[in-house]
Amino acid sequence: MTAQAELRSPFRVSKRLAFTGLLLPAVGVITIFMIAPVAIVFVYSFLEPARYGGVVWNFSVEGYLQILFERDFVDGSLQFSADYLVILWRSVFQAAICTVLCLMISVPTAYFIATRSERTKPIWIFLITVPYWVNLLIRTIALLFILRDDGPLNKAIMMTGLTTSPLPLSYNNFAIGLGLVYSFLPFMVLPLYSAFERFDFRLLEAAYDLYASRRVAFFKIVLPVMRPGLIAGSLLVFIPSIGSYLAPDILGGGKTLMIGNLIGTQFQGAHNWPFGAALSMILLTVTLIVLIWMARRSARKNTGY
């Protein structure tokens, strides 16, 4: 053994130890707060419901069957029912609209912030994040107060004389959509801002130099180069909004059921934990499919040759 190797070997061992030690808390947190709960939900989804909440430890796929079929009260036969699929679809649709709206608002906003001077940039970022110092529940209720029939927004509109009766701004899909956009907008603005920060604006000059109009340069150069930021932002908005609970509950007044509320009621009022767990697994699967699809797409676009 050379002198050098002798010197290095104890250092290596301690480095490996340090590596494991540093990783341990993260592994612990993920196991306790992510893998374990998901495993519990997975197991519960295959059990029978107890009468007043909780589960009975008998294997059953009733939870999953319930999503697609209705069991007849009299003879117990299964009949197809699209009710829950409609709720799932509505959630996906709302989340998609919310994502598109956030994109449309965030692209110009992020571009604006990224092109400010180094001195004013932090101020704009600060202004974006300030509302998030207040709890989401309080902000959502505040939004409801603004949108109500006798809220300040409707009063202002009626004062202009455009309508005599208040506009239906609250307790509907519009209010839910607005609430979702409002809740998740910064998750779009911030990744897009950092993408614009890294964007090489000389690429735009090169595009203009090669006879591209502003519009074409935006769609052929800016958007494709910013894809990673756009995808990150879209996922960060889409995933929480598909399962969102607060906005549909408060702003929708619980009238239009979303998947998040449906799951909530199974654990609270309806006392059907396995069904709620099965719905959760379905929601998780839908989310994962979207994630994998996005990752595949961006991986394919980025391969070089």
């Binding site: 130099d209 090669l210 150069i221 070089g304």
Partner: protein
């Protein structure tokens, strides 16, 4: 024939000559001015405390088919001038014409000009082929034409084998070629190059110099090339414009710039120069006697208008001075060698004479190469009467 004659006529012509030829050139379209900038002022952040004048009263004429270089130290305004020609910056004052058309207010996409950017600015999400095709596609050329032009461009810069790679998978030199091909593909009348070689290593840079020059001759496109590397400028250009501090210092062929610097700045910036303080002692027609502090007197043929007693600067290149151990006919000195540097193909001596220090470069080989001096030696200086350049500014 007409073109050849024109080229010969204007090769060393002054700007006045060019202007005359241009007015007659309107009937003969072969004689053309590629770009013309008049009364250009560029002020950043005007009427604010941060106001900064980047370009001061620039008047410049660039001829068709010319390899024209804007040379100057960093921050001299050369890139700003190029960006104004490309349409990326607005002028504060002045006009800019490209092939006779006033483009002062036109955006980049409306100018018959393409640019090779400093860091190439290749589109990272597109393959080499699509990068090169971009300009042609934007011009709405038919697909078959785009494909054939792109193939030709790929062959021109020997990048055919890399056509389907993305810029991330290319070396610096390859990227540079792609940037060049992309800018040449739409067949611009004028190509702007913003320090395209500065990101390459020395060997590659020297190779690309020759290639660029050959490419310019082949395509006949007017090149406007920005660099801070004087060697590059001298090696490639038909004409060079030296800029300093936002002002045009001198415009001329590489020979004129090197041999006939018109200011202390140009003499100092282009190559190495000994700048010696001298006083006019006696004027006898064209023959002027200068007294050099600490070195004695020298008679030079001089066309400048001077007065007895006037303080001037004599600029003389290190390789134009000969050293000898004895005082010759017109020898200056003595000066004392305080440092000797061996450079391989030459020996560089650093001399002190009174207050002044001088650098002399003696080639190895030839008659002058036979002599060798050591630090501490006292030597005499001699040079041909046309070797120093008298600078009054």
């Amino acid at each position: 024939m007409v073109i050849a004659a024109f080229r010969r006529n204007t090769a060393l012509g002054s700007d006045e000559q060019v202007r005359v030829e241009r007015s007659s050139g309107e009937t003969a379209p072969a004689i053309q001015i590629a770009a013309e900038v008049t009364g250009l002022q560029k002020i950043y952040n005007p009427s604010t405390p941060q106001a900064f004048q980047a370009l001061k009263d620039i008047n410049l004429t660039i001829r068709s088919n010319e390899f024209f270089t804007l040379l100057g130290p960093s921050g001299c305004g050369k890139t700003t001038l190029l960006r104004i020609l490309g349409g990326f910056e607005a002028m504060t004052e002045g006009t800019c014409r490209i092939f006779g058309q006033d483009v002062s207010l036109l955006p980049p996409e409306a100018r018959p000009v393409n640019t090779v950017f400093q860091q190439y600015a290749l589109f990272p999400h597109m393959t080499v082929r699509r990068n090169i095709a971009f300009g042609l596609e934007m011009l709405g050329r038919p697909k078959s034409e785009v494909a054939s032009v792109v193939d030709r461009m790929l062959a021109l810069v020997s990048m055919t084998d890399y056509a389907d790679r993305k810029p991330d998978h290319l070396s610096g030199g390859q990227r540079q070629r792609v940037a060049l091909a992309r800018a040449l593909a739409p067949q611009p009348k004028l190509l702007l190059l913003d320090e395209p070689l500065s990101a390459l290593d020395l060997k590659l840079r020297q190779k690309m110099r020759l290639e660029l020059k050959a490419l310019q001759r082949e395509t006949g496109i007017t090149f406007i090339f920005v660099t801070h590397d004087q060697e590059e400028a001298l090696a490639m250009s038909d004409r060079v414009a030296v800029l300093s501090d936002g002002r045009l210092q001198q415009v001329g062929t590489p020979e004129e710039i090197y041999e006939q610097p018109q200011s202390r700045f140009v003499a100092d910036f282009i190559g190495e120069s000994n700048l010696l303080c001298a006083t006019v002692n006696r004027i006898d027609g064209a023959l002027v006697e200068f007294r050099l502090a600490g070195l004695g007197s020298v008679n030079l043929n001089c066309s400048e208008i001077l007065q007895v007693g006037q303080e001037v600067t004599l600029s003389i290149r290190p390789e134009r001075i000969a050293l000898s151990a004895v005082r010759g006919q017109c020898g200056l000195g003595p000066a004392v060698i305080f440092d000797r540097t061996y450079l391989g193909n030459a020996v560089e001596y650093h001399l002190r004479a009174g207050e002044q220090t001088l650098t002399v470069r003696s080639p190895r080989g030839g008659l002058r190469g036979l002599q060798d001096f050591a630090p501490g030696d006292s030597v005499f200086l001699a040079f041909e009467p046309n070797a120093p350049k008298v600078l009054t500014t």
